[in-house]
Subunit: 376 residues, 2 copies
């Protein structure tokens, strides 16, 4: 998997690049819609491709392992064939879900034992079997099996957890290197930097992760409740250590503002459930700011959802119609709002890319951050 850095911004650490995968190119910086169980919620694959212009989507190992299960996925020839998405797919390792399960999991050196949220059945994840599972799912980009620490997290726990993540990473690397692609196309490993909000741990982790020399690197354990300043400080620190010639993925981030700020710090890839989850609750991200479409003020506003965005739903439907659908709990409301928000997120990173290419990113970013974070 080759990464070409094609432009860097003179006044920030922002970069533009192209990540070449066997399922096509990814233009960075990029936002990756989250398709937890093999579907980006309320969005058709055709809409992802043609309307939203997504270039890569996520799948969740924990969820896909439980349902539909590896038997069905292997029989289909992997997730791409199963869900009809023929562009790149990245799968998380299940580390985050296992962390979310809290009471229902037990972490030891060997791996994690957990109970299914569906039927309470007992399962065991190890660095080795999580690599195998992601190969079977058919991910183009496989994430290392890590522990995602909560926030706040005391120093000792953060340090021990980071060391466990590093030990597990060696086992992930060994497993990936000793196994073959499952379906004929390349499947690469991205290690994950941990260390909570502690500078020395983050430095140590970033150096260890960089030393593994994998095709891309990720930053985990952020956007879990810490102040934005901490997120930016850790991201900045880690970006200074991770190799320049490989893509950097900041996991689970974030608001449009977060994304712009972290692009400026040198991040190339993002994912977050926010655009789809918030869409279902009626929160819209637009080129003019943030809208709570449930608000009475939009009741008879017949202007387009976002005249500045273009695309399938955003100029076709009015704010009043979308409000009506969301208030009435019509499924189409979730559909339109999700398409709109994802179209906006993909538009935002594409615009950022253009500004990086023409050398005007820093000024544009400072202006845009104010616009996209204001409440309308």
């Amino acid at each position: 998997m080759k990464f070409d850095l094609t432009a860097t911004d003179p006044k920030s650490f922002a970069r533009a690049g192209v990540l070449h995968t066997d399922h096509g190119e990814i233009q960075t910086p990029i936002f990756m819609p989250v398709g937890t169980a093999g579907s980006v919620k309320a969005v058709h694959q055709r809409e992802l491709e043609l309307d939203i212009q997504a270039q890569i989507i996520l799948g969740n190992t924990y969820h896909l392992y439980l349902r539909p299960g590896l038997g069905v996925l292997e029989k289909a020839g992997g997730l791409h064939k199963f869900n009809g998405w023929n562009r790149p797919i990245l799968t998380d390792s299940g580390g985050y879900q296992v962390y979310s399960l809290a009471a229902n999991r037990k972490i030891v050196d060997e791996g994690v034992t957990f109970k299914s949220h569906i039927d309470g059945s007992k399962h065991h994840f190890t660095p080795e079997n999580v690599m195998d599972i992601q190969r079977s799912i058919g991910a183009d980009i496989i994430m290392a099996f890590d522990e995602c620490t909560p926030y706040p997290c005391d120093y000792k726990y953060a340090k021990d957890s980071m060391q466990l993540t590093h030990k597990w990473l060696k086992r992930c690397v060994d497993r990936i290197h000793s196994t073959e692609p499952k379906y004929g196309y390349e499947q690469v490993l991205f290690p994950i930097v941990q260390g909570s909000v502690y500078k020395d741990l983050r430095e140590q982790s970033a150096e260890f992760i960089a030393s593994q020399n994998q095709p891309g690197n990720a930053i985990g354990g952020l956007s879990v409740g810490e102040p934005h300043e901490d997120m930016y400080a850790m991201t900045s620190l880690v970006c200074g250590i991770l190799p320049k010639d490989k893509p950097r993925y900041l996991m689970g981030v974030g608001t449009p503002e977060n994304i712009l700020e972290c692009i400026a710090l040198g991040i190339d890839m993002f994912d977050c459930v926010m655009p789809t989850r918030n869409a279902r609750n009626g929160m819209l991200f637009t080129t003019e700011g943030i809208i709570n479409i449930r608000n009475e003020k939009w009741k008879d506003d017949l202007s387009p959802i976002d005249a500045g965005l273009g695309g399938y739903v955003s100029t076709f439907h009015s704010k009043a119609y979308l409000r009506h659908l969301i208030i009435n709990k019509e499924i189409l409301g979730a559909q339109i709002a999700s398409i709109h928000n994802l179209t906006f997120y993909l538009w935002l990173v594409k615009e950022a890319r253009k500004r990086i290419e023409d050398g005007t990113f820093a000024e544009w970013k400072n202006k845009m951050v104010k616009i996209v974070s204001q409440r309308l």
Copy 2:
């Protein structure tokens, strides 16, 4: 609104025709997807038009009157402008919803007083204001304000109710004839035959409705729990009385089998929530029979949802993928199943139309009824 009868089947009462409206032509027999609150549940307007090839959709007066309300609809210039559906729209009169409210409504000669299911607020529907409301919604086809009797229903109640419906109809006709189209295009009234399952009442009602000489006629009060034999007997009886040169609409019907049988009896228009409601529960109507996609047997069936149907989702996605989505309560499952079922319903009436045109409907219908009603 002109109706051209273009073909009749030699061995049944099936007819093919074209209904000309100011929002375009409707090829009959036709199935009309239900868009209760201005949205066909889980289906985009683009999909209705391009994938499902719907020619006309329904809106519900009761629901649209309560939300978004007439103020918003009038400001938008009617429902077509509000929801972006530019083909014909038929609105029911609220009679069925008022009947469903049972404990929360009171019927007197003047009209019906009812409490909103949303906030308990009190409202009053009369034949006159229901005509005005449907004009404001912007329906191409306005349904008369009637009382839909439940099943079972004793003779006296059915007779009194029918007489009330007839009295109301005269007031509907007067109101329609003394008011103008709201938005410049033609808006016509369809009266509704009632009379429960009593032959003499149905005859009497059909004769009265026919005598009103409106551009189309409907049969209500069926598909409310009575045996199919009664539905067919009443439909047959009424079709023998209603004028041949005007479209006949059987309200709220039904299964694919019901639709084929009633086309054979002379019905031209159908609506039903079944294809979308059952889709959301995982029941699929296909060219090979009925599928409960939740069944374990489809878990790893990677064959298309319906290879015989064509269209956007039905040949693109597998049964196993759709099952996975429905089991996981993914919104995309409801979307795909709804598009599939509606595509099937529209395909079924289009096929019926072809057979009527080439004179082979009766034989084809007898064969198809067996296929579409079998459980796979």
